[in-house]
Amino acid sequence: MTLKDFVLSIEGLTVSFDGFKAVNDVSLYVEQGALHVVIGPNGAGKTTLLDLICGKTRPTAGSINFLGHELTQMPEQKIVQAGVGRKFQTPSIYPALTVFENLEISFPRGRSVFGALTFKRDKAVMERVHDIADMIFLKDQLDTLGEVLSHGQKQWLEIGMLLIADPELLLLDEPVAGMSVDERQQTGDLLNKICKERSVLIIEHDMNFVREIAHRVTVLHQGAVLAEGSMEHIETNEKVIEVYLGH
């Protein structure tokens, strides 16, 4: 395969905090339309990896190439505008705004000061918000305040806020944490639907869930890549069993 087929290619990525290498020489490639899952024990550097991709943390060395953009040099909002959406581990939505307003504010128009001043709630916005709300199972909760949603619904809302901007790559940090079995099932379906049009990079702990959805899996351990491949391949890897799956 050539570089062109990858949405995201990470090469030699390293970050150190006061000498501690949280991510150490990681290379990782995400294919177009793939549902790529990163697993690993606590402190393996998974969340830091996502922070590096979306620009929240800056690497000490290495490169992150996203559709021809070198992300390590770009400010966060430019990375988002280039087409990378990030969901955080603890749902981060606007608690004082309604579901509708949460989605509307994430609509990718009127992002400048002047644009925001003159932004109008027109038909295109209304339709898009309703489409997304339908997709994330919240169409009946459009007027509910963000803070009163259940934990699972907040997770969905945050995914919806990313989807409304129509990104090429979604970064999801533990999207099914705190969800009921039913909600988990729904989220699995949602993710399968989402990745038809875009690529998704997910951090997840729940191995059953990973088994269901993952196209490809990367195992991180102590900041470095331990193994990579399909789920069947990973589950038979001795090193992985030893450090992670074994317990």
Binding site: F17, F20, A22, T48, D51
Partner: protein
């Protein structure tokens, strides 16, 4: 005259010998300014740097310490003049306790309710400072008071013929070194300091492991105020005290702490040293106020490049 940079211009009237002696002399005066800054900033480095409370009344605790010293010196002069050479050590302790108790009360009544709203502590403590200033005015009058100094604090010490260092400046320097050492030991080597740092970093967690975070907050705040009281006592050796004396220092003190990197006591020491030296050296060439403007602008500029202050760790978020 023209054509040269303004900055180089200011040096051109001096020979290199003169220049080096100017730097040495201004360096000495910078050291006493440094001890002033450091003494003021230590308490705030704990209250603001560690606890994130914007204590606008910090200067008033300093004033309280200074008035305690003045009061004691008056009493000693009147009733036991023989004790005059020694009273100052007792005055320092009393200044600490007075400011400590006042701080304890202020924390219990006001600050303890505002830890979740750091910017609001600014408004509330501004109110506290108004009340305290007015109290001083009612009790001690609006005019300036000064303490009677023991003989041994006056005069100056001349190691060589050309250099003479005032004793009170030297005393101030010793005081600031002593206080800094105590604070550093307390914060980084004692069990109590560990609790303070734990509470500051993660309040919920430290409560969960059995630290009484309310008590830690109260004692930490009171300690910071007590340190301001000591600074007040020390200041009576170089100047007089008036009800609004403390408020003159408050902005300087905040700048020292912010510039050093809030949360780092080492940073506070470095920043007090840097600001004091820069100011006293510049003061020789420019007028005092312009030196101040230059120093302030430089600090603002450096803070733009390093918003976290001069000493700060890269943290994994």
């Amino acid at each position: 005259m023209s054509g040269t940079l303004f900055f180089l211009d200011i040096f051109k009237d001096y020979s290199s010998d003169e220049l080096s002696s100017i730097f040495v002399m201004q360096g000495f005066s910078g050291i006493s300014l440094f001890s002033v800054f450091l003494l003021m900033a230590l308490g705030l480095a704990i209250i603001f740097g560690q606890m994130k409370v914007i204590n606008m009344a910090h200067g008033e605790f300093l004033t309280a310490g200074a008035y305690t010293t003045v009061l004691l010196s008056d009493l000693v002069t009147k009733y036991i003049p023989a004790a005059l050479p020694y009273y100052f050590f007792i005055a320092i302790m009393m200044a600490f306790f007075v400011a400590f108790i006042l701080g304890y009360i202020v924390e219990k009544l006001i600050v303890s309710y505002l830890y979740e709203r750091p910017l609001d502590t600014l408004l509330a403590t501004w109110g506290v400072s108004m009340v305290m200033q007015q109290s001083f005015r009612l009790i001690f009058g609006a005019r300036e008071d000064s303490a009677t100094m023991p003989e041994w604090l006056m005069g100056s010490w001349s190691p060589t013929e050309s250099i003479s260092i005032p004793i009170n400046g030297l005393f101030l320097l010793l005081m600031s070194i002593l206080m800094t050492t105590i604070v550093l030991l307390l914060m980084y080597r004692s069990r109590w300091g560990l609790r303070v740092r734990a509470t500051v970093q993660n309040r919920e967690m430290s409560t969960a492991v059995g630290i009484n975070s309310k008590k830690v907050d109260r004692w930490t705040f009171a300690l910071g105020c007590g340190l301001a009281g000591i600074a007040g006592a020390a200041f009576t050796t170089i100047g007089s005290v008036s009800p609004s004396a403390g408020s003159l220092y408050i902005v300087d003190t905040f700048i020292v702490v912010v510039f050093g990197g809030a949360g780092s006591i080492i940073g506070t020491i470095l920043s007090a040293f840097g600001i004091a030296q820069a100011q006293s050296i510049l003061e020789f060439f420019l007028t005092g106020v312009l030196a101040k403007v230059f120093v302030l602008l430089a600090i603002v500029g450096i803070l733009m490049i390093r918003p976290q202050g001069i000493v700060a760790n890269k943290v994994r978020q």
